[in-house]
């Protein structure tokens, strides 16, 4: 007997039902809450125009995300470039280090940054005993600390798509440029960099998307002083029980993320981004 549809769909069904029922459905419900709680209408969205707090939070989120993305992508490019040009065993070792850092828990990292960056942390006491600074630098409870923590977390995410893009470059293109008289710098800026553009764009968008909804690092290292969207949502839900405002912010965050995802899919497939480390 032939089924009217491909029997492969039967295998897809359990996962599809789970994601639909437990994830996408409830997310639609959150969107619904954003226009119905406390009353039907766009009241929650109107707060964006009237509330300085909300505008400040959105602005902080955007600013931190942009700065973090810029740093992560530049550092990530550097690492990816060295990795692509490393010989077999060295390349595996570099990739190993990168993946280990990719999988180390965000909580462990955050805890460690607390110990490193505090007033009496390793960094401050080290600099003081070397006589470089006389008073401790305030790293914590400000944007500097949040940025350090976030860039540190995001670099591996930036490396993977860039590395995947670099691996697909035909090395003869670079040789051709050199043999036609191009200098090393010219070859890099005019040939190599443009060829890695899909990877760069995908990496920037991926890092930016993950940053937008980042909760743990801003909440702990910002110490309430660097209020970003995710932390504000959690306060609204867990403390002040303002589901309407929280759902509205979640909706904005969601549409932002989906729009950027769509943009990213034109440059690189999501599975390539995450699976880019197959060597």
């Amino acid at each position: 007997m032939r089924l009217p549809v491909n029997s492969g769909w039967l295998l897809v069904l359990p996962f599809l039902l789970l994601v639909g029922g437990l994830f996408l459905g409830p997310i639609l419900n959150v969107l619904w809450i954003s226009v119905t709680d406390p009353a039907l209408g766009l009241e929650n969205y109107a707060q964006l125009g009237s509330s300085d707090t909300l505008r400040r939070i959105l602005w902080t989120t955007l600013r931190v995300c942009l700065i973090c993305t810029a740093f992560s992508v530049v550092l990530g490019y550097w690492i990816a470039y060295a990795m692509v040009h490393a010989k077999g065993p060295a390349q595996s070792r570099m990739l190993g280090l990168l993946l280990v850092s990719f999988w180390i828990s965000v909580l462990v990292r955050t805890f460690s940054w607390l110990m490193l960056l505090g007033r009496n942390g390793v960094v401050n006491s080290g600099l003081e005993s070397l006589g470089i600074i006389s008073a401790p630098i305030p790293f914590m409870r400000n944007e500097l600390g949040v940025l350090i923590g976030m860039v540190h977390y995001m670099v591996p995410y930036a490396v993977l798509p860039i590395f995947a893009a670099m691996q697909s470059i035909d090395g003869r293109v670079v040789q051709a440029s050199r043999s036609l008289g191009g200098s090393g710098a010219q070859t890099f800026w005019r040939i190599y960099l443009p060829l890695t553009k899909p990877g760069l764009v995908a990496a920037s968008l991926l890092v930016f998307i993950i940053n937008l909804g980042f909760y743990v690092i801003p909440a702990v290292l910002g110490g309430g002083k660097v209020l970003m969207v995710a932390e504000y949502i959690s306060v609204q839900v867990l403390v002040t029980l303002q589901w309407g405002t929280a759902a509205m912010l979640a909706a904005i965050l969601l549409f932002g993320v989906l729009a950027l995802m769509f943009l990213m899919s034109r440059f690189m497939k999501l599975s390539t981004v995450f699976g880019g480390a197959r060597t």
Binding site: N6, S7, G8, W9, L10, L11, V12, P14, F15, L16, V19, L22, F23, G25, P26, I27, N29, V30, W78, I79, A82, H85, A86, M94, G96, L97, L98, V100, S101, W103, I104, S105, L107, V108, R109, F111, S112, W113, M115, L116, V122, H152, V155, I210, G213, Y215, I233, S234, V237, L238, A246, A250, L253, L254, V257, L270, S271, F274, G275, R278
Partner: protein
């Protein structure tokens, strides 16, 4: 051609960056060995008292147990449905299948805070807040896309003619799947399982919204410790949390090396 000096400097700097990516996390190790009563670095002597504390406190022990149960069961579920789904999409392989695939990968990119709101809103009326079932299902949804990615990558290198051959020789769908396809994509399944386990083992944001008193995973208890920022036991917990992640990662690394040398 010998690498030039700038090229060597470039590579050297990249190595430094890679080490810097890992080194800060290791700070938890000396802190966990402090003999003092507050979070600090040991100066004269080392002490294992906070590991003793960790492994004798009923609260921490129950968190270990709960994290392990939730991690293993959600891995089992995520690996099963993720693998089936990857095989299904590979068989269908049409435009529609690609659309479905990108929908199924959404849990990886939608911010966890939104997932946390969605789950908690769904679970309150169902009575699943603060329950094993609730957390296991939530972690399954969040980690199954990782399995989908790794298994799909393995399937991309799997020759579809093997499947046809098996069916032509009279094997049923089920036998073909169990005896031909699954053995061929084992490395992808194992990688998916390892990544699914790590992602559940470390998960904090969704857990924060879904657990209250009775289900309190290791990251959940560490979160309190980090917020209070006084008890050095949290450093010992961080070391153990990280060690389990690294062991899981090492299993994957060894297995994938073996698979590669077998090719």
């Amino acid at each position: 051609m010998k690498p030039s000096l700038p090229a060597k400097l470039n590579t050297g700097f990249a190595w430094v960056l890679l080490v810097v990516l890992i080194a800060p996390a290791l700070v938890a190790i000396p802190v966990s060995l402090t003999p003092k009563t507050f979070l600090s670095f040991p100066t004269d002597e080392l002490s294992l008292q906070y590991y003793r504390e960790l492994f004798s406190s009923p609260e921490w022990l129950s968190s270990f147990w709960q994290s392990s149960v939730i991690g293993l069961l959600s891995t089992l579920l995520a690996t099963s449905i993720g693998t089936l789904c990857a095989i299904g999409l590979w068989r269908v392989s049409s435009r529609a299948a690609e659309v479905v695939r990108s929908v199924l990968l959404l849990p990886l990119v939608i911010p966890p805070i939104i997932a946390a709101m969605a789950f908690s809103r769904l679970y309150v009326p169902l009575g699943l807040i603060d329950s094993y079932t609730g957390l296991i299902l939530a972690h399954t949804v969040l980690s199954a896309p990782l399995v989908l990615i790794t298994v799909s990558a393995s399937l991309a290198g799997f020759d579809p003619r093997l499947e046809q051959a098996s069916r032509n020789l009279g094997a049923s769908n089920w036998v073909t799947m169990r005896r031909v396809i699954i053995p061929g994509i084992k490395p992808g399944i194992l990688a998916g399982a390892v990544f699914a386990f790590i992602s559940s083992w470390d998960e904090i944001v969704v857990t924060l919204f879904l657990s209250k008193f009775s289900v309190y995973t290791l990251p959940r208890r560490m979160w309190n410790g980090i917020r209070e920022n006084t008890d050095p036991t949290v450093a010992a917990a961080a070391v153990v949390l990280m060690a389990v992640t690294l062991v899981a990662f090492a299993i994957w690394a060894l297995a994938s090396r073996r698979a590669k040398s077998a090719e």
